[in-house]
Amino acid sequence: MADALLQGLLQVLTPQSLLMMVVGVALGFVVGILPGLGGAVTLALLLPFTFSMDPVPAFALLLGMYVVAATAGDITSVLFGVPGEASSAAVVLDGYPMTRRGRAGRALGAVLTSSGIGALVGAVVLVVLIPLIRPIILNIGPPEFFALAVLGLTFVVTLSSGKLLKGALACLFGVLVSLVGLDPATGSPRFTFGLLELWDGISIVPVVIGLFGGAEVLQLMMQKGSVASTNPASASVSGVGAGVRDALRRWPLAVRSGAIGTGLSLVPGMGGSVAQFVAYGHAKSVSKNPEEFGKGSVEGVVAAGATGVAKDCGSLIPTVAFGIPGSASSAVLLSAFLILGLDPGKEMLTTELDVTMSMVWIALLATVIAIGVALALVRPLAKLSYVSGPLLIPFLLLLLSIGAFTENNSWTDVLVMLAFVVVGVACIRWDWPRVPLLLGFVLGEILERYIFLSNSLFGAAWITRTPVLAIGACIVAILASHFVRERRAARRLQMAASAAAAGPAVDLSTEHRSHDREGVL
């Protein structure tokens, strides 16, 4: 193993590999910052350039671009509230409020550093798990995947403080939307209303961009000021160091979030879109200041940012070990394996282990380069948050439309994005949670696939499998602890209200904030 690690590093440090990595990092920046240009599309565009390359330089280009896109996507999320990547949506929840308060530099410093910590965790997990992964994964079947998906949904729905019912309803609506298109089992169209354009289903990119980015652009159009509401003269654009220190001080949270990102990405389909919110929810549930979440909590930024590259490392594991891609981007990477004459599976874990280990190094080095460049650019980037709002509007509208359009080069996606702008604005205006809707949408297809497979393979007996029962127990425990917490919070609010009614001045700000922030998730 150590030999393979060293061999992998030496292969990465050749001039050709380093050059390809730098090109990949530069492209990854562009792809990550521009919403909608997913890693999968750009990976596919880059594939022809790798035909004549050796495996390691080819992966330096592809993987370098892929992992950096995740980090760069966070920059757009923080600065404009428009997720650069679908997997950067959770960064918007606290990163953008920090920017609106004039703390863009600090938010960027924190998110970039936590992304680096997450990358390190992902790389370590990748190295450790590669020899062990086969027996672990082979013991996890469709029933366990289904139970894990339900667990993820439960976790996120319970985070809609005080709005469990609305969260669950939004989640089911998201699941319903995910079912639009041809049924994978029978091939019959569902909820397509006779429109051929809907037969392929609804892509995640227009949904994410509309739900989160569209609302922020409309907000900027209405308020006409800059993104940051504070006076630029008084606000610090240079809080980068503070942000870096914030993330380093919270390294246990970043490590746990990175582990969540890597762990969940092992399950095909449950990559970054789910992991970021689960990590965010975990941070909120263990935080001493949960009332700050959604209003610019550094912990929220650190947790969401740490999953960025970590989830890419996680999704590499099933791709390398079994040839099972965990996401669309992994599927394109898989085709690169085949083009380059590599056979995912046993060969990648034995004779080609050095190539596998070179991927670990590429992910790490590319992230380090990207973070170095991004940190150097943070000051000018953060100043963008003080640019006059109307100047940004044409640019942001162009990004929204291209982001939605380029996913499938289809106007249907633009219309879907606009529909979700309406949904996003309505959610904010009438205090409905947006995240359960998105998670329901992401997990809907997975839930259906795995429940179908579970029933086909095991009948109703799959419910009694030990791992499923254990995950079920976790779900019950999460729900129970949620109700206990809600009850306590309600009691505290009631006591504070009674005290306010009976006595002199009393501090209600915390209670009020926790009530007011319900719209966060």
Binding site: V31, I393, I402, A500, H512
Partner: protein, 172 residues
């Protein structure tokens, strides 16, 4: 830390109309989805049927809960938040005129994109928006529009060779 001297509003029965309407709307959508599944194959319908039934049931529960009403804690005035904590969305306070103007520009952009395509829209919309909404000079608006369109062209058409909306006349 914000403090207040109490002038307590007595607890009152409150019917959250947004929840009520949202509940009715979603219950109707879910019921409609359930009806649609009745014409499908069993395998294709079983999961959507479960989801829509569950959603309809939750929608009804939300409606009932909204109609019964909830006891509110005494109202807490908004002034209690320090300015640093105010990150209100303008959607809550915008006037009808603000909504109309904003939506007009928003919809106008996408109509222009559909008809003219990306690059002509980038130039025309930017100039119009900056001139009318931000009172910028013609020269500034023109230069900014050309620069922005140039950057977009370089990024999407040259570097990434992405297809962009071409409009009805194929201008982009």
């Amino acid at each position: 830390m914000a403090t207040t001297s109490p002038s307590p509003t007595p607890a009152r029965r409150h019917i959250p109309s947004a929840d009520l309407i949202g509940g009715v709307l979603l219950a109707a959508v879910m019921a409609g989805a359930f009806v649609l599944t009745r014409g499908w194959d069993h395998d294709a319908a079983v999961f959507p049927r479960g989801v829509s039934l569950g959603g309809a049931a939750l929608g009804v529960v939300l409606v009932v809960r909204s109609l019964i009403g909830t006891r509110e804690a005494p109202a807490v005035p908004h002034e209690m938040e320090t300015p640093d904590e105010q990150l209100e969305y303008v959607f809550h306070t915008a006037t009808a005129r603000q909504w109309l103007v904003t939506l007009g520009w928003f919809v106008g952009f996408f109509v222009s994109l559909y008809v003219l395509g990306l690059y002509p829209t980038a130039i025309l919309y930017t100039v119009a928006y900056l001139r009318i909404q931000d009172n910028r000079s013609w020269v500034f608006s023109g230069i900014y529009a050309v620069l922005l369109t140039g950057v977009m062209y370089l990024a999407f058409s040259v570097v990434l060779t992405q297809q962009v909306p071409a409009g009805l006349f194929g201008l982009a």
